[in-house]
């Protein structure tokens, strides 16, 4: 049996364990695992769907650019949850260990463990991209915050009376005009 074939045969088992591991990082992992409706359980279903997509790409040795879409789905979620960056990213790496263990446990496939170098390298690349995307998500979040502040909603709480502010601006303007 070739490695590609083995990964295809074992795909369901590996992805299922990968999803289990990733969702075990949540306190309510049982619910996130159980509920299948994508709209009643966005965290569980998005992660399940994205990891499935990502595994196929990793197993096929696909162009690393294709990893970005599923990784973004996962990182958008995990970068706003209460994880440290390493906690947010660690599940991506987990697939290496899971794949090794699953292949090793199967008599017919155990000989292929030594051939996993390319697969694991692909996981490394995915992990590195994951860090980039994690940061992009955080930066997007900061921009959202800045935009909110710039559009004026902060005036609700973080400023003096807006009427007084507007008056001050007008007064300053008129003084500038006078001094000119």
């Amino acid at each position: 049996m070739e490695l590609g074939e083995a990964l295809k045969n074992k795909r369901e088992e590996i992805v299922s364990k990968w999803v289990d591991y990733t969702l075990s990082t949540y306190q309510s992992s049982a619910f996130f695992l159980k509920e299948k409706d994508a709209f009643a359980n966005p965290v569980g279903s998005t992660i399940r769907q994205a990891l499935k997509k990502l595994f196929v790409l990793l197993a096929e040795n696909a162009d690393p650019k294709e990893f970005l879409a599923p990784l973004e789905q996962i990182m958008l979620i995990r970068s706003v949850q209460e994880f440290t960056p390493s906690q947010a990213l660690a599940p991506i790496n987990a697939v290496k260990h899971i794949t090794r263990a699953v292949l090793a446990a199967d008599k017919q496939a155990s000989g292929l463990v030594g051939d996993l170098y390319d697969f694991e390298f692909a996981v490394d690349l995915a992990l590195l991209s994951g860090f980039d995307i994690y940061m992009q998500c955080r930066e997007r979040l900061y921009k959202v915050r800045i935009r909110e502040i710039k559009t004026g909603s902060h005036i609700l709480t973080d400023s003096q009376c807006p009427t007084a502010l507007l008056n001050n601006i007008r007064n300053e303007n008129s003084e500038t005009v006078k001094s000119n």
């Binding site: 364990k17 591991y21 075990s24 990082t25 949540y26 306190q27 309510s28 992992s29 619910f31 996130f32 509920e35 409706d37 994508a38 709209f39 009643a40 359980n41 966005p42 965290v43 998005t46 958008l76 979620i77 706003v80 949850q81 209460e82 994880f83 440290t84 390493s86 906690q87 660690a90 790496n93 987990a94 260990h97 899971i98 090794r100 263990a101 699953v102 446990a105 997007r140 979040l141 921009k143 959202v144 915050r145 935009r147 909110e148 502040i149 559009t151 004026g152 909603s153 902060h154 005036i155 609700l156 709480t157 009376c161 807006p162 009427t163 507007l166």
Partner: protein, 542 residues
């Protein structure tokens, strides 16, 4: 399956600083303390705002001080525990609903997975049942026989500073959206449990600034922004100028005009902040198109009522000004703009707090003759009801093609949908003004998901929390964006317009947010207009 390295990997990552997530709980929920750190709490109310509110007649906001949730010492009054327990006793006697909600929950769990905070965080204390249990456990301990005798075995626990801190953490991780209540077989209104916890916390000076400052502004100048009458007027006048530049129509609006038929009240954010501004332009155009005899008020210049997020006394006071102003101006009835919680206060509490408004008349549209008997008691009609009625009677001319740049979906704003049953009118309007599609069934109408930032939680210091709480809503929008090409999320709530904008900027940056009335304004055909080709409707920059 034992995978040694994986276990190690797992161990090394779960032993990080995260407490709310990242670890399988090994202790009972009562034994897991809350940990406050920058980003997971909203900033406490400023001392001077609390002092101001406390100085107002009929209001009680004691223990003004500088404090931080991150510090061990919250500078509570010495007798804080007696105050809390006496406050709970008083409320159990005063509000029969609270007593029932404390007693009748059988912990069936139907609500558990319905909360957007739970779905976004996975934190069990965000299950509505457990959030209510935070209060219920204290109730059992001090107010039930079983709790007094059996203590923890009966789910009871003593009120401690740790419990109080837990109340603060989780009553401000609830937007009082009431989605959980839809699924409760007993009809427990978990939002009211949150409201009670927040009321109790205010008794010892624990509250957040994003709520108390707008509330004190509203008490002082009539609106959350603290805009004084001339500034409020200027802002509406600016919008009228913009409308003239865009459409050639000079709208004929007025302020504080005695004898007008209708008083129009909307959230102040509509006349102040994007994208609400465009919704306000929609109102102005609509009223101009039908020649409505109406007035704005610079005193009742706020539809929102942050008292709802604070305590019933403040809610009553802020609500009262609408009716005081309606009485002063001598109008026949009130039209309310696209606001969320204003409608909850109005439909569920106004009558018992300040009503009945018997000096007003049951609203009758002077354009169509329709009598709004649904508003017979409150005398206040929702702008969507009013607009849908105009469309039904063919009283306004609409050109749907003017919204051809928009593919919309509709977010049922929690309070209008669940607290007043306003679900079909906005949809009827959308059918006539724009090409639009529904989001998945379990995310709309009475099952709608909250924006994640309601009840005064739309403050930027808790942005991550807001984003994860808004995930279920954003996830449904993403679906219609990906599958149906939706580029606009319409709604009928000012807080939604502000918070969904941020939510979309994070989760679905290609989707913008608007009020239903903005789409009406875009599509309206008015005699005498010189409107060019506005490729972005009322948002077009000239």
């Amino acid at each position: 399956m034992a995978v040694p390295k994986l276990e190690q990997l797992s161990k090394s990552v779960v032993q990080g600083p995260s407490l709310a997530t990242g670890a399988i709980p090994t202790r009972d929920w009562m034994d897991i303390p809350v940990v406050f750190k920058e980003g997971n709490f909203a900033y406490p109310a400023k001392k001077e705002k609390v002092e101001y509110l406390n100085s107002q007649k009929g209001l009680h906001f004691p223990n003004a001080r500088e404090w931080s949730p991150e510090h061990d010492d919250w500078k509570l009054p010495e007798n804080w525990k007696e105050i809390i327990l006496a406050g709970l006793k008083e409320r159990l006697e005063k509000f029969r609903s609270l007593k029932i909600f404390m007693d009748c929950c059988v912990r069936c769990g139907a609500c558990a997975d319905k909360c957007h905070f739970f779905l976004g965080t996975g934190d069990p204390k965000n299950m509505p049942v457990l959030r209510a249990e935070l209060l219920r456990s204290v109730y059992r301990n001090d107010f039930t026989l079983a709790g007094k005798i059996m203590g923890r075995m009966a789910g009871a626990r003593e009120m401690t500073v740790g419990v109080l801190k837990e109340w603060f953490m989780y009553s401000y991780q609830c937007t009082e959206c009431r989605r959980c209540s839809v699924f409760c077989p007993y009809g427990i209104d978990t939002a009211e449990v949150t409201m009670m916890i927040r009321e109790l916390l205010h008794l010892v000076g624990v509250g957040i600034n994003w709520i108390l400052e707008p509330a004190s502004n509203s008490n002082r100048t009539g609106n959350h922004m603290g805009l004084q009458p001339h500034t409020f007027k200027d802002n509406v006048d600016f919008l009228a100028d913009d409308i003239e530049n865009l459409t050639g129509i000079r709208v004929n609006h007025s302020f504080n005009r005695k004898g007008a038929e209708v008083l129009f009240i909307t959230p102040s954010a509509d006349v102040f902040a994007e994208p609400g501004l465009y919704t306000a332009m929609g109102y102005l155009l609509l009223f101009e198109a039908i020649g409505l005899d109406y007035t704005w008020s610079t005193y009742a210049s706020e539809g929102g009522n942050f008292g709802l997020f604070t305590n019933n006394e403040l809610m009553k006071k802020l609500n009262a000004k609408m009716y005081a102003e309606a009485k002063r101006l001598g109008v026949k009835y009130i039209i309310g703009g696209e606001c969320g919680h204003m409608w909850r206060v109005l439909h569920q509490y106004m009558d018992t707090m300040n009503g009945p408004a018997d000096f007003l008349e049951t609203p009758v549209s002077s354009i169509t003759g329709t009598r709004f008997t649904n508003a017979a008691s409150t005398k206040m009609v929702h702008i969507s009801e009013f607009t849908a009625d105009l469309i039904k009677h063919g009283k306004i001319k609409l050109d749907k093609s003017r919204n051809s740049h928009v593919k919309a979906t509709y977010h049922d704003s929690c309070n209008p949908a669940r607290a007043m049953g306003l679900m079909d009118e906005p949809r009827y309007i959308l059918d006539h003004v724009v090409d639009w599609v529904e989001m998945p069934e379990n995310t709309i109408r009475e099952q709608t998901f909250c924006c994640g930032s309601g009840t005064g939680l739309n403050t930027d210091e808790i942005m991550e929390l807001r984003m994860r709480a808004g995930l279920p809503r954003a996830n449904a929008v993403k679906y219609v964006h990906d599958k149906k090409g939706v580029n606009m999320l319409s709604c009928v709530c000012a807080i939604d317009r502000a918070t969904l904008t941020s939510l979309m900027n994070y989760w679905n940056p290609d989707v913008r947010v608007c009020g239903v009335s903005e789409l009406v304004g875009n599509a309206l055909v008015i005699d005498g207009e010189t409107r060019g080709d506005l490729d972005d409707g009322l948002r077009t920059m000239l």
